[in-house]
């Protein structure tokens, strides 16, 4: 017989709590301005911004990846830190549609 002592929580089981509906605002990334530097990714307290590869371009004969920030709206609490720290001002906080009157 196997007895487990205490409560056991599986790694990353917090993911079942979707915190996306907490905030009133959502960050919108302007893909034209985003340079894919990853600053927002290192600052996001909810781990819901990721810089992902969206394509490739050729610069001076070398193939360079194009990276853009992508927001996971399932977990974003709308704190606005990403918009604050973005060096290219590519992120704007927008009021969610359900709060618009």
């Amino acid at each position: 017989m196997k007895i487990t002592l205490g409560a056991v929580s599986k790694p990353y089981s917090a993911l079942k709590m979707k915190t996306g509906d907490w905030g009133t605002h959502w960050p919108k990334v302007d893909e034209e301005l985003c340079t894919g530097c990853g600053t927002c990714e290192m600052f996001c307290p909810d781990m819901c911004i990721e810089v992902v590869k969206v394509g490739e371009e050729e610069v001076n004969g070398k193939i360079k990846e194009i990276k853009k920030a992508k927001v996971n709206y399932d977990y974003c609490k709308g704190c606005g830190l990403c918009a604050e720290v973005c060096p290219a001002n590519a992120i704007k906080m927008e009021l969610k549609d359900i709060y618009k009157v």
Binding site: M42, P45, E50, K77, A83
Partner: protein
């Protein structure tokens, strides 16, 4: 899961604790055993049946995080499993400077191979902003309320860096969440040393400090730029690096955007406290040579 700390935790929007934690875990590439005493971080990351952690995690009571970490270190040594990861403690300022200071001193004294990280939000923010040893003077908390006579906390912020240095441990540093690259570099440097390591990270609290959720980084940066929170690094007891400040700002700039200090601008004794804080900042700047 790049950061070994997942979304879905219960922190307030804009909380800076996850920023510090994710950068530390990212720097260690998840190779660590985390000990976490009671505090905000425990409440937000390990609610019943919901764990945000992707690394081995143990919650201890308030006073004994350092002792639990020392035990893990001793067990890893005895079992010959030292290469599996570093022992890391994430403790709040109350657990570090007030309640857990006895066990912490013992751990430093025995020089266990533990990285002790103090997430300094300058009060017991989990229970609603009670003053701790690391609360700065003049701060309005529920146990040091600003009233007709007293202008918030009387006394000074405890110098935990000096406390750690007095134990002659190999690595002591301070950091701020406004500079995550600095946090990652310091963590990587710290684990190169064998023995007890202490890093204190300034983590502004949205609700306790009374700031907007998007201002935590700005406030953390202002604390450094006013020299109220000097970023220093000691290796084997010697000051090796400080973060220089280009143009030092007056402390008012840091104080006026926080609700916990707003009484200082109208209280009859407020001016005195502001001058004292400015004197502390000047002292820091002189002592560590912060001005460029």
């Amino acid at each position: 899961m790049k950061f070994f700390f997942s979304s879905g935790h219960g922190a307030c929007p804009g909380c800076s604790l996850p920023i510090a934690v994710k950068n530390v875990l990212y720097a260690l590439e998840g190779k660590c055993f985390v000990v976490n005493p009671t505090g905000c971080l425990e409440i937000i990351s390990s609610q019943y049946d919901r764990s945000a952690w992707g690394v081995p995690y143990i919650h201890s009571v308030f006073e004994n995080a350092a002792a639990v970490a020392a035990g893990i270190d001793a067990a890893l040594k005895a079992l010959g499993r030292k290469d599996e990861g570093h022992v890391v403690v994430f403790a709040g300022d109350g657990a570090t400077a007030d309640i857990g200071i006895g066990c912490l001193s013992g751990m430093f004294d025995r020089n266990h191979d533990v990285l002790y990280i103090c997430l300094d939000n300058e009060a017991y923010q989990n229970t609603g902003n009670q003053q701790s040893g690391l609360t700065p003077p003049g701060s309005n908390t529920t146990t040091t309320p600003a009233g007709k006579i007293l202008p918030g906390k009387i006394g000074r912020k405890k110098d935990m860096v000096a406390f750690a240095l007095a134990h002659k441990i190999p690595y002591v540093a301070t950091a701020s969440v406004a500079y995550p690259n600095d946090i990652r570099r310091k963590v990587k440097r710290a684990v190169e040393f064998e023995g007890a390591k202490y890093i204190q990270i300034l983590c502004p609290c949205v609700t306790g400090w009374g700031i907007n959720s998007n201002e935590t980084i700005k406030v953390a940066r202002l604390a450094v730029e006013t020299a109220l929170y000097p970023i220093v690094e000691y290796e084997n007891g010697e000051l090796v690096r400080v973060r220089k400040i280009k143009e030092r700002k007056p402390v008012e700039e840091y104080l006026k955007i926080q609700r916990r200090f707003r009484h200082l601008f109208k209280h009859p004794k407020g001016r005195e406290i502001i001058e004292e804080l400015q004197r502390i900042a000047d002292e820091n700047a002189k002592r560590f040579g912060l001005d460029e």
